[in-house]
Symmetry: D2
Subunit: 482 residues, 4 copies
């Protein structure tokens, strides 16, 4: 692993000159931009062995390709134990960062491509699997962050890719030669795009024969010619530029999305993992989505742990920790959080080997997992707001706490229980603001809703995979219907 600590990771990113726009300006150095740095810090934790006793075993493993020690984020799962450890790793990092640490997409994308390329090559004599293994070895060796870019911008959602008035609403091949392909389009909502060395593009949906140009998967370095990143806004994002860490709530960590434009980008053949093979898109999407839907059963649970801790702490600070209704609400938060965790673990435990020698989660259970993630974090956040009280959205600014005209008033009147510094109470309330209606809510709520596919996508999969015919047979047998 060439990059082996957070500092090495920051350095590697600083060297990567990319075309990034943010808040109306070109952003030369994302690593040291105050709005983006917390997001990069979160990714950096994936390089940080940390203090938790189990961290070493979770964050690192042995490559099945090289036998070398690698980051689990670059690993191809070899058994159900790997699939469960993945969830434990993600929960651990969620607990560390209280936000999205952005590196699971690449892991999930590579794992999905691993089996799909194998099946494609077997069926049709292509050599995508070999190319992919070379690429995985490179990523493992260099220890790179890979952004898996899936979601197209989609235009009119009632139309298929090939029926849009602008053919570029889904990324597609516009030219090709033996040396490679040229692609055009855009990928939206790319959390971690600005923290990644590599962009791994996969299709966003099953494709039809006439949409073969849209059936394309490949990887390119983030600084490839023709790629432009336009960063998205999050609630309260510019607080990070105010030099008021108190007001940001989570001063160290954050997440950051970007729109990635591919303006006729050339991809060399050795980095093309699928092209013009529409019949593999559905399979690839389903597998990537399943891996990624499991991921939410780890990371968001870790963030949930922080929210539960914040609930308990603010109750301690305000003198409500012994009220039965407060204890009951905290219990409910735990219950919902652990239910999600169960789903993440279960789809790993019920995983199965794939044709390529990797391991795949149980797809039905992975979709069940994610569908719960579109619900329970919202209820956890609601309960946290309930416990915290209205001050979450009525607290004065850090600067008011520093202004000698107002500071004594605030110190006196915003005090909670005796023995707790007023500022500590405010810090935890600002964190709660961050996570429920601030920039943390982008990761904990909206991303829980739409990341790895919106709830309706999970519902369609659940309906499709549930084997209703078999269940009908069960009912017929019980009711004695021939």
């Amino acid at each position: 692993m060439k990059i082996n600590d957070p500092e090495g990771y920051f350095e590697s990113l600083r060297k990567l000159e990319r075309n990034v726009y943010m808040l109306g300006e070109m952003c030369a150095n994302t690593v040291d931009h105050p709005v983006i740095r917390p997001s990069t810090n979160a990714v950096a934790e994936t390089y940080n062995v940390g203090n938790e006793p189990e961290a070493e075993e979770l964050l690192f493993t042995k490559s099945h390709l090289s036998g070398n020690k690698i980051s689990r984020f670059t690993h191809i799962h070899q058994n159900t134990d790997d699939l469960i450890k993945k969830v434990l790793m993600l929960r651990l990092l969620g607990r560390r960062t209280a936000t999205c640490f952005q590196r699971c997409g690449g892991m999930d994308g590579l794992n999905a491509l691993y089996s799909v390329t194998c099946e494609c090559d077997y069926d049709g004599g292509s050599s995508y699997h070999k190319r992919l293994k070379d690429y995985i070895s490179y990523v493992q060796e260099e220890n790179l962050v890979v952004d898996a870019a899936m979601t197209d911008v989609k235009g009119d959602r009632s139309l298929r890719p090939g029926d849009q008035s602008d053919p570029d609403m889904f990324l597609h091949i516009v030219d090709r030669s033996p040396e490679g392909i040229v692609v055009r389009g855009a990928k939206a909502h790319q959390t971690g795009a600005l923290s990644s060395h590599e962009i791994l593009v996969v299709p966003t949906a099953a494709m039809r024969e006439s949409e073969d140009d849209y059936a394309v998967a490949f990887a390119v370095p983030a600084n490839t010619d023709g790629i432009t990143f336009i960063a998205g806004r999050q609630p309260s994002d510019t607080r990070k530029m105010e030099n008021s860490p108190l007001d940001t709530g989570n001063p160290m960590y954050g997440s950051q999305e970007a729109l990635i434009i591919f303006d006729d980008v050339f991809v060399p053949a050795e980095r093309v993992f699928l092209a013009l093979k529409h019949e593999y898109c559905g399979m690839l999407v389903e597998r990537f989505a399943a891996f990624h839907r499991q991921s939410y059963g780890g990371c968001k649970v870790g963030v949930g742990d922080v929210m539960i801790g914040a609930a308990q702490l603010v109750a301690n600070y305000q003198g409500t920790a012994k009220a039965s209704h407060i204890r009951d609400k905290i219990t409910e938060m735990i219950h919902l959080n652990e239910t999600i965790f169960c789903c993440g673990v279960a789809c790993g435990a019920q995983g199965e080997a794939t044709s390529g020698g990797g391991y795949m989660v149980d797809v039905l259970l992975a979709n069940t997992c994610k569908l719960n993630v579109t619900r329970f974090p919202f209820e956890i956040a609601r309960l946290l707001q309930d416990i915290a009280g209205g001050l979450v959205v009525t607290m004065p600014s850090q600067k008011d706490f520093e202004n000698p005209e107002t500071a004594p008033y605030l110190e006196k009147y915003l005090k909670g229980t005796d023995g707790v510094p007023t500022i500590d109470r405010i810090k935890i309330l600002k964190l709660i603001e961050n996570m429920t209606v601030g920039c943390g809510a982008a990761a904990y709520l909206t991303e829980s809703m739409h990341g790895a596919g919106s709830p309706q996508a999970q519902r369609i999969m659940i309906s499709r995979l549930a084997d209703l015919d078999e269940k009908v047979k069960l009912a017929r047998r019980i009711a004695l219907i021939d």
Copy 2:
């Protein structure tokens, strides 16, 4: 009505020199401060007869004191029709502003005091009711905005007012004379404080005999000596200072909270409506809370209407309006919204006359109303995020839409259905951001949770008012238990 239009209202506020701090600085003119102006605009709508056919009848009525035309916000309800019209008025203004317009607290506080002072005078020979009627006449005549300041800062929530280590954690009388009283303390979360001419203080809880100093209700002009306002922060508040209306989502309207410090403020006797009468605090709190809990059955329903409209509009713009799951979610939003409305109307329809000649809502149903408000808006917001898609938290800034390097990319790639300008789609998504995780969420979500009392306060009232003994009798009769 001396103030009879929005402009008159703005002028009256500009003249009111108050002691306001915000973001670390003294804020001389709140009316024209970009962060606060949207909040003042929302209040100004209460002075705007508007275009809706029913607006005139809802916003204005006839004073039972003078017979003159007055704002309904200054009215003492005379019958159940008044109580229902109040809800309709609040819904109408919620629809206009998509936020909290801040003037109902004063209306609800005056109505609660109206009957309580009457009963207090009857019991004990005081003359609070007469004073209050004079004050109400003044407010009606001048057409003033009154902030009803109830919530004390409370310190350690496990201790009563008299048991706090700092006696000022609940506002109380520190001196008195025939001319008046001197009070000290602070009132928190005062939405509309900066848009009000008058501050009407009422106690936050029932008091015991030993807490008589805390049993105090009075009114003072907002620019009274010794009063300091410290404005609170809301998510994304400084976007209003960026000169980027697109990014604010709701460029015209907002709400604004403040902490109000009373540093030994003198209140002349004629503005004291209750003093040293702990036995009336519980009654006053219960009635004020009940009126105010009804209010949420109007205003938040109006805001909900805008959210439902936004859901439908974004679905139109993105090509999903005909998908059955989208229609089903919009139907659910409507259902939840109208359920709240039913509760607001019902507690008015079941209202009863009070001893003083005013009308009081059904207290049990008013608490039922508010308890639903602590739940359904969160689900409505979650559904809206579901319908809107992830772009809600990943959209670039207005400045990116203006930058010639990025604008063409955004125009092309963030387009929805044909015929809809990209910028219109972005506008509605920015509004959805505002209302679900931006500054609008402070009003629609957190305020729905804690305004007029946190959910546990409603649960306690519901349990107390449900007449369980009578219900036990019903069950005994049915089960033939003697």
Copy 3:
């Protein structure tokens, strides 16, 4: 009112020789059949002025036709106060009976027909309204129970009435003459059919021009030639035949459904209120459904009151009444119950005059009301089972309590708190069994789901009535979209 007390009602039914089948046998006398009697008892309460102070005012009113005192169940609502009093009357009777008392359908059907016949006559010169008024006068004078029969058996739900392979799946006219019409078909799920003097038939859905034969409304006595009733089964129904009142849970009251077959039944012209006018079916269905959907906001709330009382009583008997989680669950039951009540009241309070001089509930709110009824009673029942404990479904039979071999064991081991007879604890648990999984559940749960239309029917109406265009305008205005 010729029938003016329960005994008179029983007598009138005994004289009505109908064609009734139950449990495989012809049932000559339904009044004294042990399975049906509790259902008749429930209806009889509508004739019983009772002890409640408000009962007289709620159960009776003055006819707008004759000026005489009449049962409110035969009244045409004249104002919003009537619409609210209807809900209060239904809640009162639900509290008395803990089940469905079956008489609101006729009231709702007559009220719906009242305005529709008026509009039909106005449009087309028919004289249905006059006929209906005569019929209403007759019903008021005799004080009859009218079963409003709406739900056809429907066959294949994916096909319209006119497209069924058997044309009789929806009741229709098979012959006609100046003297009257002949009809064929069946009406299902008729709660109260066996307790009614009259059957009032209305269509179950909007009809098309080609379905004019299905556009028929009329009334006939229950003992008319060609009518056969086949009673339905309810859970634990035959316990009522075991002579073990303990095991029935609610020994006095119940409900009873029947399938009504119309095998070429002649209806004289003066009792035909609509025929061959498909264009009025939608209006009639919508209005009847709206009235009836409001009704559930009264009756089920009254039943809910009994369930809440049962929860409190069983907690008292078992020593759990002070546990915070028990109190919290009872509070939740109250909250849900009162929310339904609010909806019932609100759609009355927002009612409006109809062309015929009657009063109509707010249709959107009535549908909102009923949709909540398809949810909250199930949660109330679940909470009641939680509070009651597992004994609800594991209690021995009354006969075991009487058997000297087992009685001492049961007396000793099924005792709750000291001072409470074991048998009293068992009585309340048997009532809870009745209401959550026994025959009472048919009325409180399944009927709440499907009575007055299944939830999807309410959702369609809510979606249709919500004025989404207006809401879209609100959102556009706020977001500054032209």
Copy 4:
């Protein structure tokens, strides 16, 4: 395995002469009693290898004691794979029977005792573990059904065992000698008691030092002197005596509870597994409960599969299967069902070895599992009632379908889609009645609520096990609070 098929099992039970009362009468032969037989049939399926390809591997395994093939229901789990296979076995049997098959309690009780006796012997020199292993070998060899009897009758729930006015409200030792002990008390809600060869008694709660007499665990044959069984009633139970299989809904399978009275029963020393050791009761209860709470994550999921199948089938029969709202509700049923399954699997996958060489589920996750079981089946049942329609509680009896007077009407008018025999539609609706408000509801709903402990018991465990201190530390670190 001496008993190796259903017939052998029935024979073994017929020989076991027990003291059973039901519906007021002594019941000499429970195997052939029509009310109890379906329950015995359900247990018999645990002896039936069946047709499912995975059944052999799930239902049987190898004893770690003898190396012989044994029923998994008598097995001590040796690894996480065993813990997961247990859940798969229970789901399989739930699918077969659509009810409770009653044999998991014994399995869970033996597994809990296995580690607790080991720790007890290690601490104090007792020899309970050896005795237990001998007993387990006996159970494995004979292949017996063991009823684990835990729940005491409890009297006043606000009092501890030692504080009840009647000391027998919790089972306790009343005499002892070197040969054994004598016990008195009663165990309630014993599902499967009448289908079991052996009764394994364990305490119901943690005990204090003064309650040492209550700290007792032992096993006795079901026909031991002094033991009396009194069967409980379920909804619609006597339909099984009517000779009308149609009306029972699930003619083959059921469950049956009983109250077991121990009237000074002698237990020989070799069958006593804990006595007078209050300090091990808490541990034993927690472990038994955890194993058993996992079990619900298997069996109820299997029953849920049948309910989902019934939903799909009734939709097919009624012509609603393509309606989007029906498909959506079925998807929701699947989602909730699989969420429970995830919890069952996950607490197995995260299991850990115990001191005695067995394997223990993750206790926090097992409690999370069961808490979901107290909720989701109720919603699944509600959705099933929604899909099925009101006919569920309004269908005539089997005898009406046989009566030539009524049969043709029913055949004609209760028909659904063309090509489906009316009787098949009725059969599936009767099954749905059985499972939602009939005797199946006792197993699927009430037992889901209270079996393995009521929801509050799970909440207490979840709160205790969640490591809130650690979560508080996470929140403090993120918020930079020292």
